[in-house]
Symmetry: C2
Subunit: 335 residues, 2 copies
Amino acid sequence: MTYSQAVLDGDRLALSRLLTQVENNAPESRAALIELFPHTGRAHLIGVTGAPGTGKSSLVNQLALYYRKNENKRVAIVAVDPSSPFTGGAVLGDRVRMRDLAGDPGVFIRSMATRGSLGGLAQSTANMVQVFDAAGFDVVIIETVGAGQSEVDVARLAHTTLVVEAPGLGDDIQAIKAGILEIADILVINKADHPGVEMTEKALKSMLELAHPTERIFQHHGVSMRIAAPKQDLSSVQMWIPLIQRTVATEGRGIPELAVSIAKHVTHLTQSGDWAIRERARLEVELDALIHEELVSRFRQDLPQKLYESVLEKIIQRELSPGEAIRILLNGRLK
Amino acid sequence: MTYSQAVLDGDRLALSRLLTQVENNAPESRAALIELFPHTGRAHLIGVTGAPGTGKSSLVNQLALYYRKNENKRVAIVAVDPSSPFTGGAVLGDRVRMRDLAGDPGVFIRSMATRGSLGGLAQSTANMVQVFDAAGFDVVIIETVGAGQSEVDVARLAHTTLVVEAPGLGDDIQAIKAGILEIADILVINKADHPGVEMTEKALKSMLELAHPTERIFQHHGVSMRIAAPKQDLSSVQMWIPLIQRTVATEGRGIPELAVSIAKHVTHLTQSGDWAIRERARLEVELDALIHEELVSRFRQDLPQKLYESVLEKIIQRELSPGEAIRILLNGRLK
């Protein structure tokens, strides 16, 4: 028996239990995911990412509160928490967040530690998002901490990606922005009451100019002026220039404006056809991850442990390179 | 023809070209890696990781300078740079670093953007480290920015892992420390001239107490005091308690002391047998990553593109769940 029907019926306890099964990649969860899948594809998936210290969690809480109070949307939050890759660290996060949103049946918060390796996290997150989507949540916010691959995976998973910055976070931040900017649909400068906010916004704007050199398009059409391409017009011909939005999440400032920016992005996605493109990309990534997992698990099942051990020992002794070793292992298997 | 012999002969241009091939996973690089592998296993691999803004790059530069000047060691630096997951951002980093270490033939610095997905980065990094190891570099420093899976991968790759912190980096940092601590052999508090350094050290110490509850061991032997277990004794019975080291990398302060701590860790690794254990774990991770890659690439080759496309389309239409789809794809292949 799976929890899928109960989840569709709005049973929170069943939802919670299924999420645990999904996070643990329990065999029961597979059937449930198959049963729930036809009910997915309706939620708006919002990714929120950025460096530590930017106040992402507060921002996500405030956004969730806003959607509850003003748009009566049901909101799920998946907080991907890299705080403990080894022992898991989900409980504390859940408790801290609950204070703001506790007792509201239209909100469900779930933290996930970054356990597992090689895409396992992205896969579990994708599965959780599917469960929330099928359970009828209108908005699913996926929050990640850190910089690097996990951000890219969020971007692949979400319809709308918010990159959160804060003033004066140190020199390395500059370096990170360059790549993160490329996945941002909306740039949020949180802690906008802190000193340095003007400089942060200026830096972001000039990096946006670099990343979205609208002039070039116009040069191509014979206009060689480098100044002020009409961005508004471009956006109506299906280009999205990331918006910049200041917030002070701890005081709720800038949140309504942020919600407006997000709504604009949804309109853009649907009008331009990008919604369907992102859906397709997301499902393809998911399918590929499942294929990986299944291939490796089948291979492991078929591989004699003794052969593996002896090959590994030869590598350690430098008698065999890893490159030579896989030939032996994979051909041994294909025999 | 591969560059492997030239690399073994100390040819820097060949080294540089091979590294590019390795980073791009070029077919020529595979043969070279196989040829170089028997010459690996001698370098000391030092991982350096931590949140943005901690001054990791300065620290790594200073450490490299120290090894050059005082121990006449040849030092390679692999800076894994998540600044641009999409377009690559290696050049700027290289240039900035060159000022300190330029013209020294005993130093080689290589930045890598976090391209690719699903372990591709870890694999390329592992391969680069192998090239440097075979090329006779005594120390290979692997530097990563960010928080999350990449840090864990660094820990798996390195003999000694330094986790760099800095005073007053914001609230999220606390959360990250918990997990990162578990991979740290040495905790470096850089920017130790900044306010808040005492608090940072205190916080790290109490987290270390939590992570390494030496009391428990003594309770187990009938001693129930919670105070001050003799850590020195424990470390001599093959337990390593992470050391804490303050530095001001920009001024070179604390670097000699850090080098001493690192040397202590090497002594511990060799005396306790942990060096061999880490070597084994590292090579196993590498072998597994290669197996994954090869399995997926063989599968892709055999899979009819039309079948894949039609299955993906059915998923998008919610006629098929990803879980059902892989059964069709993998069984179709096995027929």
